[in-house]
């Protein structure tokens, strides 16, 4: 039973920091409603249990399916199969992603139905599908990742010139939203499944990462194209309706969330499950024992993710808003920036997909790139991102592109000097960082802060935070790569 305890302990260490920080804040800077705090603690317990079960499920369910699929695609040895597989997989995974539906719903509300929810979801899914295809072609044809990324980000910059600022934020956020807790592990496993077939172990290692990165850019490009073609220059400023559950209710919010979250998770899981059974019949032909394992894994994934999301939505979300509001209302505005930095650092530790990515990195590099190092670097990056977002709320003149433009220029420049393995890791982690934990808790915190600050627009400042969280890891992790390069100059890896 050791293994269960060690998994649980790992997750406790991940969720404890954020819990401790909130409690410290409660006793120092803020004094929030006690029911909120109790609900937050219940949420934290649910998150710990849910995340443990979810990670076990990914290990024995999602990852094997992804790797098997990847191998099957590579073995087909026909280019059109690779392209077709990329298109189909990309589209159905993306269209089933709950985070994307939430974002599209918000966009529809904000734009007073100028952009229909369904339109945006389909546009984004098409983008993901096309880019996933290109990403798969890259792996089988050994095209270097930095070349592809330079080209597609070049296209993004060009299109950005013709896109309105609000749309810019929506486009970047959409790309963050599509890479959810379920899709990232699956796409990672898929690319590792294909790369593992390579003879050249260096290339295999390098190409294991980068697929998530390429796929998520697809969303940015198609949303921008949509904005240019639909000539939506000015968005009518709508309002975000904050749902207020009575704060006296302690357990009700959890029960209310449970039903629709279960539905969402079933929706997100369904493409992967259906794919698995189709391929099991056609080509995998796994033994009954292996199928039983994978099915158990899928059940774990479902239960874990539902518990996790219920914990986040019912326990963390409202507290995030209140926390942001009360800290931003304080006399000293420096507090909100510092608290933003700390919250960014501790929140990312509890992000589900981060665990999957760091584990995969360890597996692929046989432990050369340690999990803790990647986690630490990622946390610093996200902390900086949240702090910068707070600054943007405080200073009316600062706009999103003031960050995004130099940020991506630095990230792209770094690609040419950092070890190629880290390029893939860094760009993948951008998609990983913008998961459910960030998209709910940090986003709520940002909204709360924006409400408290005079002259800050909830919508303009609210959108774009996810884009920042997806950007900073690209820079910090590539810098980590440079450090690795310098450190391992003398004789390289240990033998």
């Amino acid at each position: 039973m050791n293994i269960l305890w060690s998994k649980l302990l790992e997750v406790v260490y991940a969720v404890l920091p954020i819990t401790i920080i909130v409690i410290i804040l409660q006793f120092t800077l803020t004094s929030l409603d006690i029911t909120l705090i109790i609900r937050f603690l219940i949420g934290a317990v649910l998150i710990i249990i849910g995340l443990s079960i979810f990670l076990l499920g990914v290990d024995i369910g999602i990852t094997p399916i992804g790797t098997q699929l990847g191998k099957t695609i590579a073995k087909s040895n026909r280019l059109w199969i690779v392209i077709l597989a990329g298109l189909c997989l990309g589209f159905i995974i993306s269209i089933a992603e709950p985070d994307l539906h939430i974002l599209a719903g918000q966009v529809e509300m904000v734009t007073s139905s100028a952009i229909a929810k369904l339109t945006l979801v389909i546009v984004v899914s098409v983008g993901i599908a096309v880019m996933l295809s290109i990403g798969l072609i890259r792996i089988v044809h050994n095209i270097p990742l930095f070349k592809i990324l330079t080209i597609i980000y070049g296209a993004v910059f060009l299109l950005a010139l013709f896109t309105s600022p609000q749309f810019l934020a929506i486009a970047f956020d959409a790309s963050g939203a599509t890479t959810g807790a379920m899709t990232v592990p699956f796409i990672l496993a898929l690319s590792i499944g294909i790369s593992v077939m390579k003879k050249d172990s260096k290339a295999s290692e390098k190409d294991s990462f980068g697929l998530v990165a390429i796929a998520s850019v697809g969303a940015i490009i198609t949303v921008m194209l949509m904005s240019i073609f639909s000539r939506q220059s000015e968005l009518a400023s709508g309002t975000m309706e904050e749902e207020h559950h009575g704060t006296e209710a302690l357990f009700m919010p959890f029960l209310q969330e449970f039903g629709h979250i279960a539905e969402e998770v079933i929706l997100a899981l369904s493409p992967i499950v259906i794919l698995f059974f189709i391929f099991q019949k056609l080509s995998f032909k796994l033994s009954r024992e292996s199928v039983r394992k994978i099915v158990t894994g899928l059940v774990f994934t479902f239960i874990g993710l539902v518990l996790f999301l219920v914990g986040v939505n019912a326990g963390f979300m409202e507290l995030g808003t209140e926390l942001g509001y009360s800290i931003a209302s304080l006399e000293h505005k420096a507090y909100i920036v510092i608290v933003g930095l700390i919250l960014g650092i501790v929140t990312i530790l509890a992000e589900p997909a981060v665990y999957v990515l760091t584990n995969q990195i360890e597996d692929v590099t046989s432990g050369y790139v340690k999990r803790k190092v990647v986690l630490f670097t990622l946390a610093i990056g996200v902390g900086i991102a949240v702090a910068l977002s707070m600054l943007r709320i405080l200073i009316p003149g600062l706009q999103l592109w003031h960050y995004i433009l130099p940020g991506y220029l630095i990230a792209i420049a770094l690609m040419y000097i950092t070890p190629k393995l880290f390029v893939g890791i860094a760009f993948d982690s951008g998609g990983v960082a913008s998961g459910p934990m960030t998209a709910t808790f940090i986003l709520a915190f940002t909204h709360g802060a924006a409400e408290a600050i005079e002259g800050a627009d909830v919508i303009v400042d609210g959108f774009g935070m996810i884009a920042m969280v997806a950007l900073t890891p690209l820079i910090t992790l590539q810098i980590l790569g440079l450090i690795f390069k310098l450190k391992s100059k003398k004789g390289g890896m240990k033998t």
Binding site: N142, V196, M197, K198, S201, G367
Partner: protein, 221 residues
């Protein structure tokens, strides 16, 4: 270049521990004069009914391989045992084997001349290399013949039977290495059972070889 008789005093230490301890093991070993080591990730079997019901059948392990002379290995192993308490159950396994050949580090290849030390050999290390996906069957076969379990290592390789090419890349199919420590009396039946179940004698189905083990800590009957 060293003379042959000296090389025979070189040994390889294998350490199998839970994931994350590998680097620490190497660090401790270096304190005792071991010059370096190689680590890789593996999966170990769990035999626990509850966990098997939950489909948790294996856990991540790290394997450390270190080569040094007999005097240093002995010192290192005693030190490691003190630090990591391999003498307690579930703390990991350490063992050494003599090298029949050692290339690329500090000597030339040597021939094993059938000479053994005075110590009685209690255990043997059976190493089986098969195509990926068959390792579970190897373990099952071994267990039928009285083995306690084994450690699976992910690997990749190609023999004379694999010459596939795919777009611009050569295909090098994945393999699995299975390491089974067995009591000397069980070695023969275990090997035979695996040969029989995996059809090792047919071309392209895998390889089995056996090494003697000198000292072990952490194996419980």
């Amino acid at each position: 270049m060293m003379p042959n008789e000296k090389t025979r005093h070189f040994e390889i230490i294998y350490v199998i521990v839970k994931f994350g301890l590998g680097s620490k093991i190497l660090k401790e070993a270096k304190k005792c004069g071991v010059s370096g080591g190689t680590l890789f990730i593996g999966k170990g079997t769990i035999s626990n009914r509850i966990l098997n019901l939950l489909s948790i059948t294996d856990m991540r392990k790290e394997i450390v391989m270190m080569i040094s002379n007999q005097k240093t290995t002995k010192k290192a192993m005693e030190h490691l045992n003190k630090v990591f308490r391999f003498d307690k159950p579930n703390h990991g396994i350490v063992f050494t084997t003599s090298l029949t050949s050692l290339m690329g580090t500090r000597s030339c290849q040597i021939e094993d001349d059938e000479e053994r030390g005075d110590g009685e050999i209690m255990y043997q290390n059976i190493i089986v290399i098969v195509d990926k996906g068959n390792a579970e069957d190897v373990i099952k076969a071994a267990q039928k013949a009285g083995s306690k379990g084994g450690t699976i290592i992910n690997a990749r390789g190609s023999g004379i039977h694999e010459t596939g090419k795919l777009f611009s890349m050569d295909i090098e199919p994945e393999k699995e290495i299975v390491m089974i420590l067995s009591d000397e009396d069980y070695t023969e039946p275990i090997c035979n059972k695996i040969r029989e179940e995996l059809k090792i004698d047919e071309p392209g189905n895998g390889i089995i070889f056996v090494q003697d083990v000198n000292r072990t800590y952490g194996i419980y009957e």
